[in-house]
């Protein structure tokens, strides 16, 4: 039975979970989506512990509200929407905390991109450091643009899927992706010299 379940598509698995409350179907879906969701949320929020909590909450939401899923939608877009909303809530909460905490300095609030002027070109070509810089720059992009850029360029989702997740028109998705990319490129102008 278990082997058979693993061969099922996402939509078939959730149907099984909805109809028969089969916990194995739920566990398979969790296994399939925990890492992609973790990657998405981490790129969006930038804190590993908080991301783990968000992904856990996403899975619990999925468990509790399994009946709110409708078969005409793709399961992946549905679960990404839940995770995205929780991540946005976390960002909002953080922003509120930043507003109310006077003692916090700017350095603590937002991740800063290291001054690239002090890095030698050899160091910049070093993949690890380069990735680090890109990650930090990505967190500086406006959340509305960041979300779509992550979904498109990191998660490799189609425009249709992104449109479904964000609830935006495809044209809006495309323009936001471009704006996000432009913002990111500006932040990384020392790496990507035109």
């Amino acid at each position: 039975m278990n082997k058979l379940l693993t061969e099922l598509k996402d939509e078939e698995l959730i149907k099984e979970f909805q109809d028969s409350n089969t916990l194995e179907a739920y566990e398979i879906l969790v296994k399939r989506y925990k890492d992609p969701l973790m990657n998405f949320v981490y790129r969006f929020v930038g804190d590993r512990d908080i991301c783990t909590d968000i992904v856990q909450d996403t899975m619990i939401k999925f468990y509790l509200n399994k009946d709110s899923y409708r078969s005409f939608a793709k399961f992946s877009t549905w679960i990404y929407t839940i995770a995205g909303n929780l991540a946005k809530n976390e960002l909002k909460r953080r922003r509120r905390r930043v507003i109310f905490s006077i003692s916090n300095s700017d350095d603590e609030r937002t991740p800063q991109i290291e001054d690239k002027m002090f890095r030698s070109p050899e160091k910049l070509t070093d993949g690890k450091i380069r990735n680090e810089i890109i990650e930090k720059a990505l967190l500086k992009v406006k959340p509305v643009y960041r979300e779509v850029v992550i979904l498109r360029d990191i998660q490799d989702l189609s425009y249709d899927e992104i449109s479904e997740i964000t609830g935006l028109a495809i044209g809006t998705v495309k323009s936001r992706i471009n704006r996000g990319r432009s913002q990111l490129q500006k932040l990384l102008k020392h790496i990507y010299k035109e």
Partner: protein
């Protein structure tokens, strides 16, 4: 449109490649175990409580504004009964004016040098007297205002204010002589055509009276 996006994509191609090559972040090893433990223990934390709650503040704030606006509208806007156009009121009064033409009075007192047009006793709007040479002698419009509180707008604008006008607020009023209106009013001189009309009316009455008298005299003759 597509080409624009493609061009832009080409512009960012290096960066997109780097984004795709960013290391994948994975969940911790105990993720599933922790999740299933939470589910088995029904420890759903904040997730369970985060169902959409009806936000009373969000609902009440705009509705309070709307209700206040409606109440203010009812309080501040005068009802149709209260709206009286002073100009309209004046015109109505003029129309309803009747010239007293009592035949007895006309027979005995209607003399050449007493060619007075009387106003209706109820009419308080305007007094006018026509002299024998048929010129308007006294044109003192009795406006429905309390005179002590009235302001001549032209004088006021031209700077010819008097102390009486400036001390309007100090006027103490009592008795039955109440002013029906207390607002700006543009006083107009009586219309010449209206005066002509009344004059013609009075003339015709006079002629009719003379005819009647002459007829009576003819009848009395043997």
């Amino acid at each position: 449109m597509k080409t624009i996006y493609n061009e832009k994509q080409n512009k960012h191609s290096k960066m997109i490649k780097d984004l795709q090559n960013l290391p994948k972040v994975e969940t911790p090893e105990n993720f599933e175990f922790n999740l299933m433990t939470r589910i088995n223990n029904k420890n759903f934390g904040n997730v369970e409580n985060s169902k959409p709650v009806f936000d009373w503040i969000k609902f009440l704030a705009p509705s309070a504004v709307v209700v206040t606006a409606i109440i203010l509208l009812f309080i501040l806007l005068p009802t149709s009964e209260q709206i009286t156009d002073p100009l309209l009121y004046q015109a109505q009064k003029l129309d309803s004016q009747t010239i007293v033409s009592n035949s007895i009075l006309a027979g005995k007192e209607f003399t050449k040098n007493q060619n007075t047009v009387k106003q209706n006793s109820n009419s308080t709007t305007q007094k006018k007297s026509v002299s024998p040479n048929r010129t308007v002698q006294n044109l003192s419009p009795l406006l429905p205002f309390w005179t002590s509180r009235s302001v001549s707008l032209d004088d006021y604008i031209n700077g010819g204010r008097n102390s009486r006008n400036l001390q309007q607020g100090n006027v103490v009023h009592g008795g039955e002589d109440s002013a029906p209106l207390d607002r700006f009013f543009v006083a107009e001189k009586p219309d010449q055509t209206t005066l002509k009309k009344y004059r013609a009316h009075a003339d015709s009455l006079r002629k009719a009276q003379l005819k009647a008298d002459s007829l009576k005299k003819v009848q009395k003759m043997p």
